[in-house]
């Protein structure tokens, strides 16, 4: 409990705010790594996930590969890549992207698979091209699950981004590693608290976004009994719950 009070005192101490090692700069770095990671991971995972969800092909491969990737310890990946690329931002970003991809990928294809088969079939039958079915039916209706996947990834990354400091790239992890070396446990706990605050803020933001992107007609549909089940293939996991 004393550590806890000390950590809060540490966070509130004005001396820890100015300069490149101040709390605002470290928080900004942490957020920047998280944002950069998510953008890169989305750019990779969403097209692949959409391709899998739209065609229904390659799903088994994606499940086993992302399952394997999930088992990789991020610290190990970070060390491995850092040995290759050296000190800098590349190694942490690469390892965070590897961490973020499985959730986003699962959100992307699970979102498509959750779309009522009947609706997709009808869209084709009235004369939509494959691309139109994708853009006008599958993407909007799959958006809530995709955002859920990104939300899970964001939480994992914002917490794991502390590892950037392991290869000297700053972020809130700086307080953890500095505190560990100097046995300054109040500083360590303060760093951890700041990560928690960031994670909670992100969680709130994504919860809001997730509500906003649910198509309005689908909100109205909630509570009604689905007339027909979704695609017969089971939706793997619930990406919203992952990483918690």
């Amino acid at each position: 409990m004393n550590y806890f009070v000390g950590a809060i005192r540490w966070v509130l101490d004005p001396a820890h705010y100015p300069g490149p090692n101040g709390i605002p700069v470290r928080m900004a770095e942490q957020l920047w790594y998280t944002a950069l990671t998510l953008v890169i991971a989305c750019a990779i995972a969403i097209p692949i996930g959409y391709a899998i969800g739209h065609t229904g092909r390659g799903r088994a491969v994606a499940v086993s590969v992302t399952g394997g990737v999930r088992a990789l310890p991020t610290l190990g990946v970070l060390t491995l890549v850092a040995l290759w690329t050296g000190i800098g931002l590349q190694a942490p970003i690469v390892s965070f992207v590897v961490l973020a991809i499985p959730s986003i990928l699962a959100g992307a294809y699970a979102g498509f698979e959750a779309v009522d088969r009947n609706v997709v079939d009808a869209a084709r039958a009235v004369g939509m091209t494959g691309w139109q079915v994708l853009a006008r039916v599958e993407v909007p209706l799959g958006l809530p699950l995709l955002i859920g996947g990104i939300r899970a990834a964001a939480l994992q990354v914002v917490a794991t981004a502390t590892l950037a400091a392991y290869v000297g790239s700053g972020g809130l992890g700086g307080y953890l590693f500095a505190g560990l070396q100097t046995r300054d446990y109040e500083q360590m706990l303060a760093g951890a608290l700041l990560v928690v605050v960031l994670a909670l803020v992100l969680e709130g933001l994504f919860a809001l976004v997730q509500r906003l992107v649910v198509p309005r007609g689908v909100v109205a549909q909630r509570g009604n009994v689905r007339t027909r089940p979704s695609r017969s293939r089971p939706v793997m996991g619930d990406p919203i719950e992952e990483g918690k």
């Binding site: 009947n118 609706v119 009808a122 039958a125 009235v126 004369g127 309005r216 007609g217 109205a220 009604n224």
Partner: protein, 282 residues
């Protein structure tokens, strides 16, 4: 005119949905494909707009083999109405109806104006235009489905058990509405159902299918009732029992028609020839 020429559909796993099916569907009339589940009726329907391609044989619309038409262009000029409406849940009623015209490049305002007219046509109140499909009853959703099917003013309207999932009262209502629409619009309607009463009510021509798309009998409802081609047809239409096996009974000097169980079904007022000549008894 839609022509099925020796159409078969076999799947890679060896099962066969349809074997050597040939039927001519005349223009501006309603043809009903009726049969129990697994008889291939939906498969046949979906061959007309190339949602399914036949393994052999061909389907021709006004002499043109659909295999040579781009499927997307083909589907955009054929109306399609399905069970459970298949409406886009994230679009308002009016936008659902306007979907296909807008795909064809009709300006939004024009497509929406036309959609409102179509709501009148299918008996939907215009105040429902801004609702989402989930906010409508099953019957209303099916009406929206029909309006969407009519949106590009197609010559052909395909209907796949459109009234199968609504309650009997609403179904009767929708059936009456379809008969009225067909009188007014004169589309070539191909209608799939497993309900023989619905088939006899709506069809100018009825095609009764057995397993594997084998035509058990084809004709007007009257022809089929008068002369069932075989026992399968007789039992399928129920000609030998219940409400279709009617007898005339005399009661108080009036001819009363009773069904197979002896329950009165109506009063015999004369023959159709009498009616044509100007009323009963003349």
């Amino acid at each position: 005119m839609i022509e099925f020429r020796h159409v078969s559909k076999r799947y890679p796993d060896g099962t066969s949905a349809v074997e050597d099916f040939s039927v001519v569907i005349p223009s501006r009339e309603t043809t009903v494909l009726v049969g129990s589940s697994g008889c291939g009726k939906t498969t046949l329907l979906r061959m007309i707009n190339r949602m399914v391609d036949p393994s052999s044989g061909s389907v021709a619309i006004d002499g043109e083999d659909v295999a040579h038409v781009d499927p997307v262009r083909l589907r955009r000029r054929i109306g399609y109405v399905m069970q459970n409406s298949g409406l886009l849940p994230h679009r308002k009623v009016i936008d659902n109806i306007a979907t296909v015209p807008m795909l064809n490049g009709v300006p939004r305002a024009q497509a929406r104006a036309r959609a409102l007219e179509l709501m009148d046509t299918v008996g939907l109140d215009r105040s429902l235009a801004d609702r989402y499909p989930a906010q409508l009853s099953g019957g209303q959703q099916q009406r929206v489905g029909v309006a969407r099917g009519l949106a590009v003013d197609p010559n052909i309207l395909l209907m796949d058990e459109p009234f199968g999932a609504v309650d009997p009262i609403v179904r009767a209502d929708l059936q009456r509405e379809l008969l009225r629409l067909q009188r007014d619009l004169g589309k070539t309607v191909v209608f799939v159902t497993h309900d023989i009463d619905e088939a006899f009510l709506l069809g100018h021509q009825v095609v009764i299918l057995q397993k594997g798309g084998v035509v058990a009998q084809r004709g007007t409802p009257r022809e089929i009732l008068a002369r069932p081609a075989n026992e399968f047809v007789a039992s399928f239409i129920g000609a030998d029992r219940g409400k279709r096996a009617l007898r005339v009974a005399r009661a108080d000097g009036v001819d009363v028609v009773v069904d197979g169980d002896g329950r009165p079904a109506g009063v015999l007022v004369g023959t159709e020839e009498d009616a044509a000549a100007g009323g009963p008894g003349s």
